[in-house]
């Protein structure tokens, strides 16, 4: 594969979550975390799962990533069952999970080095390309601890994008950031998603974030985690987080969450 093809992006994948249930063992009892979850994500679709903490949205993301196994049901990525983690579905965590023993460039190279079929020169090229994409080309040699929270998440995004995954799984990636940084990243993620066509599954407890980013919002309620509604957001893109229509959609989503008694811990920050 040529470098140009490599950078153009792999075709986005289709995801099928098929009757997934999950229990967790806690001290004396089994906790029912996910109950019969089914939905499909189209190629290149931006799906956001919202729900209060404890609704199992992060566990579901882990199952889609292949980090956890469902007790019942299965997940298909392009009709292939997901059995273990793989570089076609990369995850961005809330805590950037950057490796402190590597500098910024080393972190972005980590996944690339595990990708066969590239020369080392090409890998370095790809890493520089994505660091440029997230606006950190001047920080390649920086150490992780020297970066702000927003910059860390940008590096984490570059690291997740660099091996050219077909699906990007994002677990509350902006939750720990300040409002200004977050709004900037909403713009960036929409631009990158538009230019590089990834299938994105994004987890949050922030309904306004959901309304701003999603093609469809999956509303979940806790104990056990269930899908309550799937709401399409038919607003033109790119969307501005402060747009009045986003606020209106967020209000509707909040109302829906409340209806299922799940709004208490969901926020509209």
């Amino acid at each position: 594969m040529s470098l140009q093809e490599e950078l153009r992006g792999a075709p986005p994948a289709k995801l099928v979550v098929d009757h997934v249930s999950k229990w967790f063992r806690q001290k004396r009892q089994m906790v029912h975390a996910l109950d019969d979850i089914s939905f499909e994500v189209a190629e290149g679709e931006f799906i956001v799962m919202v729900g209060p903490s404890g609704c199992g949205k992060s566990s579901l993301l882990d199952i889609i990533a292949g980090l956890e196994k469902p007790d019942k049901g299965r997940v298909l990525a392009d009709n292939q069952p997901v059995l273990h983690p793989g570089r076609h579905r990369l995850v961005m965590f809330q805590d950037s999970a950057l490796f402190p023993w590597l500098n910024v460039f080393g972190n972005v190279m980590f996944g690339l080095k595990l990708k066969p079929g590239l020369t080392n020169r090409e890998r370095r090229e790809v890493a520089r390309f994505y660091l440029h994409l997230v606006g950190l080309e001047k920080f390649t040699e920086a150490n992780v601890h020297e970066l702000s929270g927003g910059m860390k998440q940008r590096v984490a995004l570059a690291r997740a994008l660099a091996p050219n995954p077909r699906v990007l799984l994002m677990d509350e990636p902006f939750a720990a950031l300040d409002a200004m940084t977050r709004e900037q990243l909403y713009g960036d993620i929409q631009r990158i998603w538009h230019e590089h066509r990834k299938t994105i599954v994004f987890v949050t407890h922030n309904v306004r974030e959901a309304a701003c980013l999603a093609d469809r919002v999956i509303i979940m309620s806790p104990t056990p985690g269930r899908i309550r509604e799937i709401v399409p957001i038919l607003l033109p893109r790119p969307r501005d987080f402060n747009d009045i229509e986003i606020a209106q959609h967020a209000a509707t989503l909040t109302a829906t969450l409340k209806q299922y008694g799940a709004a208490a811990t969901a926020t509209t920050r």
């Binding site: 980090l67 990369l90 965590f93 999970a97 402190p100 500098n103 595990l114 992780v144 601890h145 690291r159």
Partner: protein, 255 residues
């Protein structure tokens, strides 16, 4: 530069106080020799080669024992951290033996190996290996699990994860463990050399021992100084570069 001068000044003052106490004749000069007589002993010992020969013998034993100790301790620590079975067996053993002062190995080593180099080596290894095991184990257990999860999503397999994630992530603990191991090895070797009289090599510990036998206090203090200086140098040469790297990368150690 200012800090070096300050340190030099501090030690100059220390030696001056020592000299002043000697001139005040509070203690007999047999018990507290003057800085000058210690210096003279050191110069003479350096000139006739005994000091260098003894230092080389000692350092050779130290390095051999230390390297074996690390080579055994590091993998053992990785094992105790990754398997509950090894944790409950070797891990408990390591914890127990680590609390044992290394001098306690000397009688056993003497009975097992006699007055031999093997006895020395054995004491040094026993002094080193357990603290390296414990430090490695702690290091691996302290790593946030999210690193391994992130690596798995990027296609890192079991072996790759150990070499590229878990080991580098626990590096701060490994380095402090190896530093501690070095300190223990140094202590054990001195204990061994003072108690095990052997003919195959005359180390610094032996010089110290015979200094006492001959009531040669200038020798005792001189050799103690040499031992301190070797310890300091080892710290600066072997571990400081690592620690500087760790501080820079992890952003630790700033005040």
């Amino acid at each position: 530069m200012r800090r070096t001068l300050l340190a030099l000044f501090f030690f100059a003052v220390l030696i001056a106080i020592w000299g002043a106490i000697v001139s005040a004749r509070i203690w007999s000069p047999v018990l507290l020799p003057s800085p000058l007589s210690v210096w003279e002993y050191l110069v003479n010992a350096a000139r006739d080669g005994t000091l260098l020969a003894a230092a080389i013998v000692t350092l050779r034993r130290l390095l051999a024992g230390y390297l074996i100790g690390v080579a055994v301790g590091l993998p053992l620590g990785l094992l105790t951290a990754s398997s509950t079975f090894v944790e409950d067996t070797i891990g408990v053993l390591a914890l127990g033996l680590q609390t044992l002062p290394s001098v306690c190995w000397v009688p056993l080593a003497l009975l097992w190996f006699g007055q031999t180099e093997s006895a020395m080596l054995f004491v040094v290894i026993m002094g080193t290996v357990w603290s390296v095991v414990i430090a490695t184990d702690t290091g691996v257990r302290t790593i946030p699990p999210i690193y391994a999860r992130a690596a798995r999503t990027m296609g890192s397999n079991y072996f790759h994860r150990w070499t590229r994630v878990i080991l580098p992530a626990s590096l701060p603990y490994l380095v402090s463990g190896m530093k501690q191991g070095w300190a223990f090895a140094w202590r054990s070797l001195m204990a061994a050399e003072i108690y095990v009289t052997i003919l195959t090599g005359f180390g610094l510990g032996h010089l110290l021992h015979y200094g006492r036998e001959l009531n040669a206090m200038d020798q005792v203090i001189g050799i103690m100084l040499v031992i301190i200086i070797i310890g300091l140098l080892a710290d600066k040469i072997l571990f400081s570069p690592w620690e500087r790297f760790l501080h820079r990368r992890w952003g630790t150690g700033k005040r």
